[in-house]
């Protein structure tokens, strides 16, 4: 991918990137931080960084660059507010923030109970497993890409992924 150019085309390019990736960045941040407001703050932070780094060497692909910056920003926030993160991690499912959305047939198919179980299990995952699962399963990165982004070996990524999936399935509660 080419670097962002200066002038009006740069602005257009920035807006295009924002439209394409902002929802994904926010969703990933929310998965890693479990707080909608914090996730929105991270999204702003990430795109501000994108805007303010004209002289940096351009990454080969903006999407992956944004994802890496998002993960780092989430880590920083988690470190800064570890007690808050710990508190949320142990928070009962009923205390989670309400998000009002329209019911769709697909949403109805996945029962509320299942979603609660899955989210409860997801909250209990260690940060590293959460990152690996989010990138490998939800962002659909390859094992090698996840390993490079997180500075791990492919074997370690597979191990984290396996443990995360095992825990999540266990949380889903004997559906097999």
């Amino acid at each position: 991918m080419e670097p962002l150019t200066d002038g009006p085309s740069r602005q257009a390019e920035y807006e295009a990137l924002y439209r394409k990736h902002s929802a994904r960045v926010e969703r990933l941040s929310r998965l890693l931080l479990e707080d909608l407001q914090e996730a929105r703050d991270v999204r702003q932070e990430v795109f501000l960084k994108l805007l303010r780094t004209p002289d940096r060497p351009r990454p080969a692909e903006w999407g992956r660059w944004l994802t890496r910056v998002t993960i780092n920003a989430c880590r920083d926030r988690r470190r800064a507010g570890w007690w808050q993160w710990w508190r949320r991690r142990h928070q009962p499912i009923d205390d989670v923030e309400v998000e009002d959305r329209e019911a769709t047939p697909e949403r109805a198919a996945l029962s509320g109970e299942d979603r609660e179980r899955i989210w409860r299990a997801f909250r209990q995952l260690p940060p590293r497993q959460r990152e690996v699962f989010a990138l490998r399963h939800l962002e659909e990165w390859s094992t090698q890409e996840v390993a490079e982004a997180l500075g791990l070996s492919p074997g370690t990524v597979k191990r984290h992924l396996f443990r995360a999936v095992r825990h999540l399935r266990k949380g889903l509660g004997g559906r097999s």
Binding site: Q37, D94, E97, R101, E106, G112, F162
Partner: protein, 156 residues
């Protein structure tokens, strides 16, 4: 070929990272095929649930800033309570150390010590009334060979 796939291998296969041998086994083994199907269904459900966001809840949370402020206030109150407790304990200890003894207690103790001292240092030449009183006490219990009253006849 005959051994069923491990869970980990099954997971890697679902991500397209299994070997050709694993895929061949999946086609041939009904048990593994069913396990694979269940795994795929669970992964699909998990992915969908996480993409949709957290479930609707009965109770909303307080905003982050309010929660942070509440925790700071709670920490400050706890620190204040601990500091107050330590101070109160230290004050109480210091009062016990400097509090003056009662005069009545001192007088009783001094009188007792004087009596004991007089008894211990007495040579019999000038017995005191107190000594006589003390010596006379066991009189009733002693034998006829001598009594305490006779012992002090020279005094009269």
């Amino acid at each position: 070929m005959n051994r069923c796939l491990r869970d980990r291998t099954l997971l890697l296969s679902s991500y397209g990272e299994g070997s050709e041998e694993d895929r061949a086994h999946l086609r041939a083994c009904l048990d593994c095929a069913q396990r694979y199907q269940r795994l795929s269904r669970d992964l699909e459900l998990i992915g969908r649930a996480l993409r949709e966001g957290p479930p609707v809840a009965a109770v909303g949370r307080l905003p982050g800033a309010v929660r942070r402020r509440g925790l700071v206030v709670a920490a400050a109150l706890t620190a204040l309570a601990v500091f107050g407790g330590v101070e109160a304990w230290m004050w109480r200890e210091s009062v016990l150390w400097v509090r003056p003894q009662t005069e009545a207690g001192d007088a009783d103790a001094l009188r007792f010590l004087a009596e004991v001292s007089a008894v211990l240092s007495s040579t019999g030449d000038a017995p005191t009334a107190d000594f006589a009183d003390v010596a006379a006490m066991p009189e009733t219990g002693w034998s006829d060979e001598w009594d305490a009253g006779q012992l002090f006849d020279y005094n009269t």
